[in-house]
Symmetry: C2
Subunit: 263 residues, 2 copies
């Protein structure tokens, strides 16, 4: 059964709009909103539970191949008047398709399988960077992402868009204070590598990353916390001819992951 929502004052719509704007609201409701036909379809393909599907009538014809399986997968389906749909949109040119998905639980970092190689992002603030790291990490075949410290919310509209659905497929783990989690990680069999702009560190080109390797990259402006670097097993750096300090977080992660995964 499909219910039609014509008013911007509809309570369910307003509740859903809050999920688009606020990370606290997402955590409180345990839900997040995916925008765009392809990305919603990706959520379905990745078996992410879809609580509610919203779309404008105009989208039904245009995105039929994406919407049909979603209509069966979603617990509830609603059509929206375009002016009401605007409330849910975080983009300028919206397709008018939205899925309210169940927020996956983030396991503690030490629960990650040791058979694998991981990226760990500490205090990454820019949604575009976090999304790009996930997208590139998935493309290169990493086993998951550790979120350290206070990163931006991986389920915000901007990260979802920049990540192109990688967040549905890449297992996420968390460690709010890495220096406290490190002893457990090391005793479980992980080897942690702090990425640092320091010529005295191991060159990433000469470094063999074992199974259970975790590559840590830090905040855009400040890099990794000193206590995080101190708690890591090893330190790696990107040897460069050019202006090393000018590599951004997403590009340096791409190069470091590439080297980690190439073996």
């Amino acid at each position: 059964m499909v219910t039609h929502i014509a008013s911007r004052r509809n309570e369910l719509l307003k509740e859903t709009a809050r999920l688009v704007r606020s990370a606290e609201e997402r955590r409180a409701q345990g839900l997040f909103v995916v925008e765009g036909a392809r990305l919603c379809f990706d959520a379905f393909r990745s078996c992410i539970p879809v609580e509610r599907l919203f779309y404008v009538p105009q989208a039904e014809e245009k995105y039929r191949e994406y919407l049909q399986p979603l209509q069966k997968w979603a617990k509830e389906t609603y059509t929206l008047e375009p002016h009401a749909a605007e409330l849910l949109s975080a983009t300028k040119t919206s397709q008018g398709v939205y899925a309210v998905c169940r927020l996956p639980a983030l396991l503690p970092a030490e629960k990650a399988p040791v058979q694998g190689k991981y990226l760990a992002a500490e205090n990454i603030q820019d949604p575009g960077n976090l999304g790009a790291m996930m997208r590139t990490g998935e493309a290169l075949g990493i086993s998951g992402l550790f979120l350290l410290g206070k990163c931006c919310d991986p389920f915000s509209p901007k990260v979802l868009r920049a990540g192109m659905g990688a967040v549905f497929r890449l297992p996420l783990y968390e460690a709010p204070v890495f220096s406290e989690a490190a002893p457990k990680l090391h005793s479980t069999g992980f080897t942690t590598f702090a990425a640092v702009p320091d010529a005295s560190a191991e060159k990433v080109t000469q470094c063999a990353f074992p199974q259970g390797a975790v590559l840590l990259v830090g905040n855009e402006g400040n890099g990794l916390l000193p206590e995080t670097i101190g708690a890591c097993s090893r330190r790696v750096t990107i040897p460069m001819a050019g202006r090393a300090e000018s590599l951004n977080a997403a590009s340096s992660s791409a190069i470091l992951m590439w080297e980690m995964m190439r073996e």
Copy 2:
């Protein structure tokens, strides 16, 4: 001598605002606008001619170390009322510092020195991608960037910001139709490499890039034009365990340039 502009209707201000918004206007006037104290200072350090410097009085104290050399370097200096300065801003939180710089001439691609290695970007549409490619390219020490086809304007506010001033330091060349420019490039001594998602191409990990190497990457959605690929000396690809199709233009360029520059 510093002139104060208090009105948003000031003709010079309106003329400058058009430079912020329009690539055609930038080409017509031969000028572009740099926003932000640090980026304006970068333009000065890179000896880019600054025709006009604008700043709000509040910025003078805060960004003194950046503004002082700029005040000497700029041909003309103006202070702006904050509500007038908004006309020039392309960001939400502006520092209120702007430099109107002379647009460098883009040389034809075949004029680039053969001693060097280059990135060539074809029909790149996203300013964030083009900026990131320049920033990463500069960091890795490439000799310049070739702009092929119709890329977004490298002197737009968004590209300038994403590039973190790389556009001031990285020589730019152009070739509107690569397949027509290719014979000249090859006879000058360049070797051109088309980056393609094709397992039958040379693996970038096994490919030696000679001096005069030009690495071509294509549009975000469509890759390189077929005739461009056909006109290249060689084809390279990124061998990957993960989902290759998911690497974005900036990340795949970072990995490809990293491999080109590592020798």
